[in-house]
Symmetry: C2
C-alpha cells in the first residue's frame, strides 16, 4: 500500500470541481463542490444519528438506498438544517440540477451541506452557479472541491492510496477528502467525508467495509461532544480498476476493507489535529479491556473530557483526570489494576501503575506534553482488547471561534 | 418558608469550624473543616457514580450505612483519590481522630476531600491541626467551615431556611453549604454538599427526601461534563426542633422534602453561576415532554453542549445549536413540533416555532443574551412534563483555570 497524489481524483474516472457561488459572504472563498464518476458506481453511506437532520441528510439517505450514487453536490456556508419544507425542496433541487447537468438519474446523486443552521438556503445562487460548476469538472479538481466544503477547517484534509488486491494484476486506488473540525464526536458530527475508489465491489460488501472503517475511525473521534445535524460519509466505487468484482468476504475484501480503514483513520486523525482552536492531537489508547467496544468507550471518554483536554493545552500531566474520565465511562474495571502512561516523540513517562501513583519528573512530563502529538495510554485490566480514540486539546481559541460563529 | 442567616449552623445544635492546617500551599487559606451535631442524628448521603472513588467516598459510604452520621471532617487541597491503601488509611484516620476528639463513635463520622487527584494525603498535617479544629467548633463556625472546603470556587455558596411542618407548633430549619465549580455534571461531580437540619425524621424518609431533591437539583447541573471521584451530598438531622418524628409519607414529609429540594436547587444554581470561568448562568427549561426524565435528559443535553455554552459566552443567539443538542440527547421527539425561546431579565425572544425559523432582531437577541442570567426554553411536543437544567457559559477563563490547575 502506498500513498499517492490526487485525493478524490486519484482513482480512475473520477472528476471534481469547486467554485464560489456566493453562499459564503467572503468574496474569495469557494462554497460549492461537485464530485462525479464517469462510470456508474456502487455506493454506501453513513449518516448522523442526530434526530434533527439536515435536508441534505434526508435526501441523500433516500437516494443512497439505491446503492448507486455516482455524483455528489456539496456546499458550505449553509447547513440547510431546521429550514423546514423549503430546505427540503432546496436539497432536492440541488440533486435534480446535478443529475440534469451530468446526464444521470436524480437517484444517482447525493447532496451534502455544512455551515450555519436555520438560515434559508439561497438556492438561486446555487442555480446560478450550476453551469460553471458542471463545466469545471476535471480529473485534478479535487483540491477546488475540497476548498468548497471547508468551514472553520484550518487545514486541507485529504489522502489517496494505491494497493493491490490478492489475485488481481493491476492496482486499485482509494481517494478521500473530509471537512470538519468542530462538533466532531463519536457517531459522527459536522463532518462531510467523500471517498472515491476505482475498485469493483458490490454495494453490500462496500457498505460492510464502510461501516467497519467508520466505526474504527470517525466514531473514535471527539472534539467537543456535539453531534451535528449534517454528518455524512459516502463512498463511491466505479470499478474502473477492472479488478475481479468483490462480492463476498475473503482476502480481496479484507484487503480492500483494511485499506479503506487506513484512509478513514488518516482523515480522522487529521480532523482531530484540526479541531477548532486545537494546538495538540491527543491519541488515547486503552488496552487490557474485555472487548473492543469497552476499550473504545473508555478511550472516547478520556479523549472527550474537557478537563483532560484543558490539561493537555496546559501541558499539565494531570493523570488523575485521565483516571476520572475512565471512571465515568460506564464500563466496569478495577482502578487498582489500572495504569497510565503519557508519551510523545519527546519520550514516554509512566505515571500510574496498578492503582498506585508513580513519582515522576514534572519537568520531563512538561517536555513530553509540549509536543504537538500526545499519546495517553491506559491499561484497565487483563483483557485482550484495545482501541484508540482521538481528540484535541481545549484552547482559548476554541472558545473564541465558537463564541461568535454566526457573525 | 423564609430564608434565615447562619448556613449550616442555622439549625439548632449544629457547630462548625474551619482552619488552615497546611494542605493547601497558600499560607492564608483554610483547608480543614468540621461540622458536628451536639445531638445524635439520622443521616442520608449520596455519592459519585464514578468507578474511581476517592478514599473519602469509600469510607463515608461504609459509615453512612448506619444512617447515624453526626460529624463530618472535610479537607480541600487534596482529593485523596487514586492514592491506594495509604489514602484509604488516611481517610479512616481522619474519621477516627474526629470521633475521638468529639467523643462519638467512628461510625458516626464521615469524611470528604476535594482537590488534586493522586497526591499522597499529608495526614500528619491533619493530625497536627486536629486539636485546633475540634476546639474551634462554635455555632457560628459555618463560614469558616465553608472557606475550608472551597477550591476554585469564587463565591461562597450556602443557604438556610426556616419553615413550619403541618401539625407542629414550632418551626424547623435546614442549612447547607456546598463546594464545587468545575467538574459538575448530572449524577454529581466534584461537589461536596453538607446539609444540616434540626427536623426529627427517620433515616429512611430522610434518604428518600435527599434522593428526590438531589435528582432535581445537583443532577440537573452541568458545567463541563466531567464526573468527579469525590462527590458527595450528606444530610444530618438531629431532631433538635422537637417536631413529631417524620417516619412515613404524608404532609409533614412532603413539606420537609420540598423544603430540602428548595435548598438543593438554590445551591445548584449558585454552583452553575460559579462554574469555572463562567460569566453567565444558563437555565434550560424543556417542556412538552412525555416524562420528567425525558425532559431532564433533553435539558441537560442543551445545558452541557460546548457549542451552546460557547455561543452564550459570545451572546450569540445560535438556536440551531440548541436544536442540535436536543437532537442528540437520545430522546425521541419531532423537530417539526419543536420551539425555542431565549429570555432574560432584558426580555423574551421566540426564535423557532413548530419547526420553523422565526425572523428576529439580532440586536434584541444580543441585548437579552448579554445578561448574567439566560433562560433557554425549548418545547418538544405536546407532553405534560417539564424539567429544568442549569449550566454556565464556556469562557476563555475556563480554559485558563483548567489548563494548569495543578501548579
Amino acid at each position: 500500500m502506498k500513498e499517492i497524489n490526487g485525493g478524490i481524483c486519484a482513482p480512475n474516472s473520477f472528476l471534481a470541481s469547486g467554485i464560489r457561488c456566493g453562499i459564503k459572504e467572503s468574496a474569495s472563498k469557494r462554497d460549492l463542490a461537485l464530485v462525479f464518476s464517469q462510470q456508474p458506481c456502487t455506493s454506501a453511506a453513513v449518516f448522523t444519528s442526530n434526530i434533527v437532520q439536515a435536508a441534505s441528510v434526508i435526501v441523500s439517505r433516500e437516494h443512497g438506498k439505491s446503492g448507486k450514487i455516482r455524483a455528489l453536490i456539496a456546499n458550505s456556508g449553509n447547513a440547510n438544517a431546521c429550514t423546514g419544507q423549503a430546505g427540503l425542496e432546496a436539497a432536492r433541487r440541488m440533486t435534480e440540477m446535478t443529475a440534469e447537468k451530468l446526464g444521470i438519474a436524480t437517484e444517482e446523486t447525493a447532496v451534502a451541506s455544512t455551515g450555519v443552521i436555520g438560515v434559508p438556503m439561497p438556492i438561486e445562487r446555487i442555480e446560478a452557479g450550476m453551469a460553471e460548476l458542471a463545466a469545471g469538472i476535471t480529473d485534478n479538481g479535487g483540491d477546488a472541491a475540497l476548498e468548497a466544503i471547508m468551514t472553520t477547517d484550518t487545514r486541507k484534509k485529504f489522502t489517496a492510496i494505491e494497493f493491490e488486491l490478492p489475485g488481481n494484476a493491476s492496482p486499485v486506488r482509494i481517494g478521500a477528502m473530509t471537512k470538519g473540525s468542530g462538533m466532531i464526536h463519536p457517531n459522527m458530527a459536522t463532518m462531510i467525508c467523500v471517498i472515491t475508489t476505482d475498485a469493483a465491489i458490490n454495494a453490500v460488501m462496500l457498505d460492510k467495509a464502510l461501516r467497519r472503517a467508520v466505526n474504527r475511525s470517525f466514531n473514535r473521534l471527539t472534539v467537543d461532544g456535539d453531534m451535528s445535524t449534517n454528518d455524512m460519509a459516502i463512498v463511491m466505487a466505479n470499478g474502473a480498476a477492472e479488478n475481479n468484482l468483490i462480492n463476498g468476504e475473503g482476502p480481496a475484501w479484507e484487503t480492500f476493507a483494511s485499506a479503506l480503514e487506513t484512509v478513514c483513520t488518516t482523515l480522522a486523525k487529521a480532523m482531530a489535529r484540526d479541531g477548532e482552536g486545537a494546538t495538540r492531537l491527543i491519541s488515547v489508547t486503552v488496552s487490557g479491556a474485555a472487548s473492543e467496544e469497552n476499550a473504545a468507550a473508555l478511550a472516547r471518554s478520556v479523549a472527550g473530557s474537557s478537563l483532560v483536554k484543558a490539561a493537555c493545552f496546559g501541558a499539565d500531566a494531570n493523570w488523575g483526570r485521565v483516571l476520572c474520565a475512565l471512571g465515568y465511562a460506564g464500563i466496569p474495571f478495577k482502578p487498582e489494576e489500572a495504569s497510565v502512561t503519557f508519551a510523545s516523540p519527546a519520550g514516554s513517562l509512566p505515571v500510574f501503575k496498578n492503582g498506585e501513583v508513580l513519582s515522576f519528573s514534572e519537568e520531563k512530563a512538561k517536555t513530553i506534553l509540549m509536543e504537538e502529538e500526545i499519546d495517553i495510554h491506559a491499561i484497565v485490566g487483563n483483557g485482550n482488547c484495545e482501541a484508540v480514540a482521538w481528540g484535541c486539546d481545549l484552547s482559548y481559541d476554541y472558545v473564541k471561534i465558537n463564541g461568535d460563529y454566526r457573525s
